[in-house]
C-alpha cells in the first residue's frame, strides 16, 4: 500500500481549488488552506469530503471537454510537492483556456458556415417542422478542411507547450515519488532502530 501511495505522486494533501487565473487567488486560498479552511472549490460547484487526502477529478467541462481536478494540499507540503502541484495547476489552466476558446471558435464558425451556406441555398435555419437545418457531411467537409488549415499553426504551438508541460509534470511526479519512497524508508529504518 505504501508503494501505491508513493506512486500516486500526484496527490497533495490539503484541498486546493483549481484556480485558473490569478496567483492572488491561489495565494489567498493557500493561506485559507493553511488556516485549515477549505479553499474555494465553489467555482467548480463541488467540495470534496474533508477526510479525503487525495485529488478529486470531475466531469468533463462543457467548453473544453477536459476534466477539472481539485488538488489536495498536504499540511506539510514540501517545496518539491508544491512545485508539482503548481505545475499541474498551470498545465490544467493553460489547457482549459486553449480548448475552451478553440471549441467555442469551432462551434461559432460552424454555425456561421451553416448559416451562410443555407442562405446561399435560399433556406432558413429551421425548416417547417421547427427542426434545425443541417448540411450534409460532404458540404461540411469544406468547413472542416478550412478550419483545420487555419488553426494548424495554433495547434503546433499548443502541441509544443503540452509536451513540455506533460514531461515536466511527469518528471516532477517521479521526483516526488522518489522523495516519498526515501522518506518512508528512512521512517522504517528509524522504527527498526528504535
Amino acid at each position: 500500500m505504501a508503494a501505491a501511495r508513493v506512486l500516486r505522486a500526484g496527490g497533495c494533501y490539503r484541498r486546493h481549488p483549481l484556480s485558473s487565473a490569478s496567483s492572488s487567488a491561489s495565494s489567498g486560498s493557500g493561506r485559507a488552506a493553511e488556516r485549515g479552511e477549505r479553499p474555494d472549490s465553489v467555482g467548480l460547484g463541488f467540495r470534496p469530503p474533508p477526510h479525503s487526502h487525495s485529488d478529486w477529478i470531475g466531469p468533463p467541462d462543457k467548453h473544453s471537454n477536459l476534466r477539472p481536478v481539485i488538488f489536495y494540499v498536504p499540511p506539510e507540503e514540501s517545496a518539491l510537492e508544491r512545485r508539482l502541484r503548481e505545475a499541474r495547476q498551470e498545465a490544467q489552466a493553460s489547457n482549459q483556456r486553449f480548448w475552451a476558446r478553440h471549441n467555442r471558435a469551432f462551434r461559432q464558425e460552424k454555425e456561421e458556415f451553416i448559416y451562410s451556406r443555407l442562405k446561399a441555398k435560399g433556406l432558413e435555419m429551421r425548416d417547417e417542422s421547427g427542426q434545425k437545418a443541417t448540411l450534409s457531411a460532404e458540404e461540411m467537409a469544406d468547413f472542416y478542411k478550412d478550419f483545420l488549415s487555419k488553426n494548424l499553426k495554433k495547434h503546433l504551438q499548443y502541441n509544443r507547450d503540452w509536451y513540455k508541460h506533460n514531461f515536466r509534470i511527469t518528471f516532477l511526479m517521479g521526483q516526488v515519488a522518489l522523495m516519498r519512497a526515501l522518506r518512508w524508508l528512512r521512517g522504517r529504518k528509524r522504527n527498526v532502530e528504535q
Binding site: 496527490g11 487525495s54 470531475g58 489547457n95 483545420l148 503546433l156 511526479m173
Partner: protein, 455 residues
C-alpha cells in the same frame, strides 16, 4: 458520428484492423476476431460494445442516423434500488397519461410533458434524500483520484489497448506461422509474448502523449488517463515495465533482429506516428509501416532473417491499412478537424479515396506474388481473388461516391477481409515437407534453423 468511430481503436503496432487515429479512439477497443464475425452479422450496430468485457458501456443511438456513441455507465454510488424506483415513477406517469382522456390532444401532450418533467425533477431532488448520499447528481460525477488495486488490471488493460494488442500479436503469429521452417513452440510463445509486451508499451506511451486530444474526441474520451484513473507517472512506469522486458525477451529469447524490429516499432509508433498525426498527413504512411512490422517480426522470429517472404507479408498488411483507415476516417472528419489532427480525409479528400482504391488493387497484386516467392501455392491468389475483388469494388465505390455509406461498407469489409485473407494464406502455405521432397531444402538446414532460434 460514425458508428465505426466508437469501435475503432487507434492504430497501434497492430497492422490492424484498427486505426486508432480516431482518437476516435474512444474506449476504443478493437474487437477480437469473434467480435468481427458478430460485427458482420449485425453491421449496423456497434456490437463489439456488447462484448466489451473491460468496461460496461451502453451504446446509444443518436439522431436516428445509426451512429452510435458509447455512453459510459455512470459509476454512481446510488443503490440500484433507487434507479428502479425512479423507473417505476416514470412508468407510473406513463400510465397516468394514457388514462386521461377527453382533452384536446395538444394540451394533453403538453400537460403530460410537464408532468413528466415535474416527476423527473422530483426524482432528482429525491436523490438527496435517498440513503446513497446527500449529493447532487453532479457531485456524484466527481471521483477521488485514488488508485484502487482491484481496478488496476482493468485500467492497465485499457491503457495498453489489450484488444488491439491481441490483434497485433495475432498478425505476428501469422508471420511466424507462414515462415517456411518447422514450427517451434517455445520460440512462437516467446515471440508472441515479446510482441504483446512491446505493443502494450507503445500503446501506453501513445495514450500518455495524447490526453487532452483524447478528451476532445468522442471515441477516446473514456480512456484511463483522460478520466484520471491512473497518473501519468504510473502510465510511463507501466510502459517501461512492458517495453523493456518485451524487447529484452525478443532480443535474448528469440533473436536480436526481432528485438531490434520491436524496439524500432515502438519508437516509430510513439515518437514518429503520434506527434506526426498533428503535423502532417504523412502520419498515415508511417502508421501503415507500424502496422506492417509485426508480421515481419513473426517471420524473423521463426527464420532469423529478413527475406522476401517477410517483406511480402508486411506489404500485405501495409496495403490493407489504407482502405481500412481511410474509410474509417471519412466519418470522423469533424472530430479530426476540431481536434487538430492532420488526416487525408479532412485536408485531401480526393487523395484519401485514391490511395484507398490504389491499395485495394495492390492487395490483388501482392496476393499474386506470394506463390512466386514460394510462400504459398498457386491456389492462394485464385481463392483470395474473390475477396480481394470485393474489397476493390467497395474501394471503387468509395472513390466514386465519396459518401458515408460507401465509406462504412469499405470499413466493415476491411474488418473481415484481413483475417480471412490471412487464414486463406495459411491454408495455402507451401508445405515445408513438400520442399524437402523436392530436395529444395538441404538436410542440415533444419538443424541450422534450430541453431538460429536458440540463443
Amino acid at each position: 458520428m460514425s458508428a465505426a468511430r466508437s469501435c475503432r481503436p487507434p492504430r497501434a503496432l497492430a497492422a490492424g484492423l484498427f486505426v486508432w487515429r480516431l482518437r476516435s479512439t474512444g474506449a476504443r477497443q478493437m474487437p477480437c476476431r469473434f467480435v468481427h464475425l458478430y460485427h458482420v452479422a449485425s453491421s449496423k450496430l456497434i456490437t463489439f460494445q456488447y462484448c466489451n468485457f473491460l468496461k460496461r458501456m451502453y451504446v446509444t443511438q443518436c439522431n436516428k442516423d445509426l451512429s452510435q456513441r458509447a455512453k459510459p455507465k455512470s459509476d454512481s454510488i446510488v443503490s440500484p434500488f433507487h434507479e428502479l424506483q425512479q423507473l417505476d415513477q416514470e412508468k407510473k406517469v406513463v400510465h397516468k397519461i394514457s388514462s386521461a382522456s377527453p382533452v384536446p390532444q395538444s394540451w394533453s401532450e403538453m400537460s403530460s410533458r410537464n408532468e413528466l418533467r415535474k416527476i423527473k425533477s422530483a426524482a432528482e431532488t429525491e436523490d438527496s434524500v435517498i440513503p446513497g448520499g446527500a449529493e447532487s447528481k453532479e457531485d456524484r460525477q466527481w471521483k477521488e483520484m485514488k488508485l484502487r488495486l482491484d481496478d488496476l488490471p482493468g485500467i492497465l488493460a485499457r491503457l495498453s489497448k489489450i484488444k488491439l494488442t491481441a490483434l497485433v500479436v495475432s498478425t505476428a503469429s501469422t508471420g511466424f506461422a507462414m515462415a517456411p521452417v518447422p514450427f517451434e513452440l517455445t520460440c512462437f510463445l516467446l515471440a508472441s509474448l515479446g510482441t504483446g509486451l512491446a505493443s502494450c508499451a507503445a500503446n501506453s506511451i501513445n495514450q500518455f502523449f495524447e490526453v487532452p486530444f483524447d478528451s476532445n474526441m468522442n471515441r477516446t474520451k473514456n480512456r484511463p488517463l483522460v478520466r484520471g484513473q491512473i497518473s501519468p507517472l504510473l502510465a510511463v512506469c507501466f510502459a517501461a515495465c512492458c517495453g523493456i522486458p518485451g524487447v529484452a525477451l525478443l532480443t535474448l529469447g528469440v533473436n536480436p533482429l526481432t528485438g531490434a524490429l520491436g524496439a524500432f516499432n515502438i519508437f516509430l509508433y510513439t515518437c514518429c506516428y503520434t506527434p506526426l498525426k498533428r503535423m502532417s498527413i504523412a502520419n498515415t504512411w508511417v502508421g501503415a509501416v507500424v502496422g506492417a512490422i509485426p508480421p515481419i517480426m513473426g517471420w524473423t522470429a521463426a527464420t532469423g532473417s529478413l527475406d522476401a517472404g517477410a517483406l511480402l507479408l508486411g506489404g500485405i498488411l501495409y496495403s490493407w491499412q489504407f482502405p481500412h483507415f481511410n474509410a474509417l476516417s471519412w466519418g470522423l472528419r469533424e472530430d479530426y478537424s476540431r481536434g487538430g489532427y492532420c488526416m487525408m480525409s479532412v485536408t485531401h479528400p480526393g487523395l484519401c479515396r485514391r490511395v484507398a482504391l490504389r491499395h485495394c488493387l495492390a492487395l490483388i497484386g501482392l496476393s499474386a506474388v506470394a506463390p512466386v516467392l514460394n510462400i504459398t501455392t498457386w491456389t492462394f491468389p485464385i481463392i483470395s481473388l474473390p475477396i480481394n475483388l470485393y474489397i476493390s469494388y467497395l474501394g471503387f465505390r468509395f472513390y466514386r461516391d465519396a459518401d458515408r455509406s460507401s465509406s462504412r461498407k469499405l470499413f466493415f469489409c476491411s474488418l473481415w477481409h484481413l483475417p480471412l485473407l490471412l487464414l486463406v494464406m495459411f491454408t495455402c502455405k507451401k508445405s515445408v515437407l513438400e520442399k524437402e521432397d523436392k530436395g529444395e531444402l538441404r538436410g542440415g538446414s533444419h538443424e541450422m534453423a534450430m541453431e538460429i532460434r536458440l540463443p
